[in-house]
Amino acid sequence: MITAVESRGECPFSSMGLPSMGHGRPAVQHPPGEGTAGTAPAGPGAGHRPSPCPAGTACAPRLPAPRGGAAAPRGGRAPGEGEGHEAEDGEAEEGDGVRAVEELQRDVFHLLLVDHAEVQAVVYVVLAEGPAPHARHHLAPSLPSSQRSCGFAGRRGPDRPGADKPGPKQPGRPPVPCPAERAERGSAAPAAPRGGDRPAAPTRRGREQRSAGGGEAWPHRPFRTRKEKDAAACSPPPSPSEWSRLGRAGPRGAHVGRAGPCGAGEVPDAVLRWTMAVWARQVSRWCCLLNTARAVEFPRGLRSGGCSARACRGFAPLAGLPAGKEVVLCRLQAYRQVSVGSCSPPDSAKGGSLSSPESNLPSVQQEQTKAEILPDLNAKILDEDWDDIPPSSALEVISEEEAVQIIAEPLLPIQSSTLRDYVDHSETLAKLVHLGVDLSQVEKRRKAGQLLLTLDFEKDVKKILLFLKDVGIEDNQLGPFLTKNPYILGEDLEALETRVAYLKSKKFGQSEIAQLVSRAPYLLLFSVERLDNRLGFFKNELGLSVKKTKDLVIRLPRLLTGKLEPVKENLQVCQIELGFQRNEIQQIVFKTPKILTASKKRLRQTFDYLHNIMGIPHHMLTRFPQVFNSRLLRIRERHMFLAFLGRAQYNPAQPSYISLDQLVSLPDEVFCTEIAKASMQDFENFLKTL
């Protein structure tokens, strides 16, 4: 609360030289980025600064006041805990904490915050327990006790059976039933070395300030060795006693506690920070996954095994998890339905094929089930103790709607080299197949299959398809078009429209644009500058007028999407080696633009045969440039047949003249009967004598 913060006066950490972000800022809400801003000590912390939880950003504005004040004091604490969590709990009193609980109960989004806050609280506890004096301060001191209490209180009910279990090394402190006390203890812990006395809150705070002010906290320690890191990860708070008493703060606390007994060694603060950061990151990711995980639609009780298995599988690639992640997952599964819609789709977080099909598959169903499930579970979860989720039973009674929505299918493969494994389960892919897209071709392209899996038909693909229809591509052409260019489905609609507008501004008609786009599918992926450059290039190289250049491009739209160097080289070949004049070249290119993309060797060979052996002069070749497009073998066979028959007459001035286009373009039967006046059998026999 603002009041709380201000009453405290200057931020207790100012003396520690923490970065000023987060200091003294009136934290009404959790201004976005403050939490991460609080990731203070720039040195070691910088490396581990994880991305702010996307959920956190969304959650932040919702957080009620009790958390507001926290931002300032927290500087430097748990890097990576997004803003919501840091127990921003300003100096909230116990009463504030209770109020927060109630508010939380009404707001789904706070569940996420609650999670984060728990982590945070846990973090604090862990650090508090640490025997290493240096380790302790760095997260703890920033957190006023009341914050933590708020966090705890909000998160769990007053009763935490687990909390009362004394740890192995408990120094005999009496268990603390009341959350406030627990919180106090927790908050006291970081300040007090080895959890010594448990004075009242103010004293503790004073202690914190003292310790904070003492400058011992936040040593900017660089990362230790991996062994230490692992040790830290495995062995949480050096003295699990406090731990157990405080109850494992939430599921994460549980892990941490569990990890604890591994050996309370020294916990380097940087290592811990990293650990906590990792956890926080995990939490954020898991929360995101919750939204889109397939299990969301399942009734809470029923989904245990498969989804968690899948989640576990999915999380396996996420490195850096400390031990006890499995526990986290198991815990999380219970909360999977807390679908906080604000989380961004997991694709960005995970980026693997695991999330893609999963996110895509039940996307349609998720939306409809999310709404109905959320209100149910919202209250339920908050009332329950997180340590106490009963295992779901197959005999549990569920409603008809839930029963209908259960889909018990074998799991999809995480990775596959073909889209066949996913097409039956993906609405997008199925609809594309019905459109006529050849998925067997698409999956051979680079990353095209992955792109299709990540797209949602209703949201993304439909817009592009409608856009393409507006451009003028026919329905039956959409399939082949998308087969050749599936990447257009991932394009930005505004950019595409800009490009079409550019083409229109160059006075290409609607039907012409449709022709351009359908015959050169990659055209719309080119930026406006690139298109402009290419049109200018053709205009300059060929020296044609604007209108003729446009006609040329419409006849062969491939020119705009192909490489330009070979075009230049072909023009040089035509001019220098073949000996055509510039105006002849223009005529040839205008009639057969394909000559610009032909291979030079083939061009030379064909010309050599035509000019030197058949004896056809340049002007005849300019009149019939389509001979350059046909195969040399075909020209040779037909010419030799005509020569054998004595009909090889290509001079129009003389009788029984055979034009070159007839020579090459007619099919074999017609050629034999009309031109050569012989039978097909004779032609074949002749072929065998060559």
Binding site: R420, D424, V433, D438, L439, S440, E684, L687, K688, L690
Partner: protein, 313 residues
């Protein structure tokens, strides 16, 4: 269908045009066959039973039989992507002629045919008056000479000399003791030839046409390459105290396959190939049996069995 692809097994010959590499010919045949095989309708997609939500918002599931999309042709791709087509004795780019190909199980017969060491017959065209570096008329000119003094008789004398020297090589490389009765019998039937590796051997040469400066030879040879034949033309020119280049090398027979059996480019399709395989099957098996003496399940045995039955009845 898969049955069609399995049925397509055996040996056939195509006529390779000049100016094209033999690998391209093999790929062209494969592409055309694949196109035709994939054009045939495939299996219908499998059906699966799925429980879909009932229409109208009722909370129940309706069983529906829907086709499995993974079997859709657009998802599965073409049924046939490759065919096993093997090549027999190869022809280089400038040569043309009979080119034996094997499909499927016929590839095993290719090896057997190779081990038969049958002769091949070429039509070689030459041109007197110039010599080039690669012995063909498209190479770089090395020298030009006169050729008026050449007559057909002189040419044939040279050819006889060539044939004689090659005959000696033939006998030597065939590893047969000339003093035995078997050798005599084989020689009578004309079956003496090297049954292992040997340098190129010309078993017969004759002049088909002679019109200065052009001439045409027919060469029967073993273990040859087309470049060797071109070199031979060059040497004939040298022997005749002039020079010659080779304008055309065309194979008209490869073992049991002749030009009549070879399919021209216009007939490289499924049906013609199947007919060609069927037509050549008997010839091939006869020859294989004669030379290598194996093939119990061959057509020949079946025919023998039939005739025997016929004779008895």
């Amino acid at each position: 269908m898969a049955a069609a692809a399995a049925e397509l097994a055996g040996l056939f010959a195509v006529y390779k045009p000049a100016g094209v590499a033999w690998g391209r010919v093999r790929e062209a045949v494969e592409t055309r066959l694949l196109r035709e095989l994939n054009a045939a309708p495939g299996r219908a997609p499998r059906q699966q039973v799925r429980f879909l939500p009932a229409p109208g918002g009722a909370v129940e599931l309706v069983a529906a039989r829907v086709p499995v999309l993974a079997d859709h042709p657009l998802v599965r791709g073409p049924r046939f992507r490759k065919l096993k087509i093997g090549a027999g004795h190869r022809l280089d780019v400038k040569a043309s002629g009979v080119f034996v190909l094997g499909i499927g199980h016929g590839n095993k017969l290719l090896t057997d045919l190779y081990n038969c060491h049958l002769t091949r017959v070429y039509t070689v065209g030459g041109l007197f008056g110039k010599a080039t570096d690669d012995f063909s008329d498209t190479g770089n000119l090395v020298e030009k000479t006169t050729f008026d003094h050449i007559t057909r008789e002189k040419l044939e004398r040279i050819l006889a000399v060539i044939q004689g020297t090659n005959q000696k090589a033939l006998l030597m490389y065939s590893n047969i003791d000339m003093k035995t009765q078997e050798a005599y019998e084989l020689a009578v039937k004309g079956l003496i030839r090297p049954m292992g590796k040997s340098p190129p051997i010309i078993t017969a040469v004759r002049c088909l046409q002679f019109a200065l400066p052009e001439f045409q030879l027919e060469i029967h040879c073993l273990h040859e390459t087309q470049q060797y034949l071109r070199k031979m033309v060059h040497e004939i020119g040298l022997e005749l105290k002039s020079s010659a280049v080779c304008t055309q090398v065309r194979r008209i027979r490869d073992g049991v396959f002749t030009v009549d059996d070879a399919l021209p480019r216009t007939q490289w399709n499924l049906q013609s190939i199947q007919e060609a395989i069927w037509n050549c099957q008997l010839k091939v098996e006869t020859e294989l049996e004669k030379t290598l003496g194996h093939g119990e399940n061959s057509l020949l045995h079946q025919l023998d069995g039939d005739t025997a039955e016929h004779g008895q009845s």
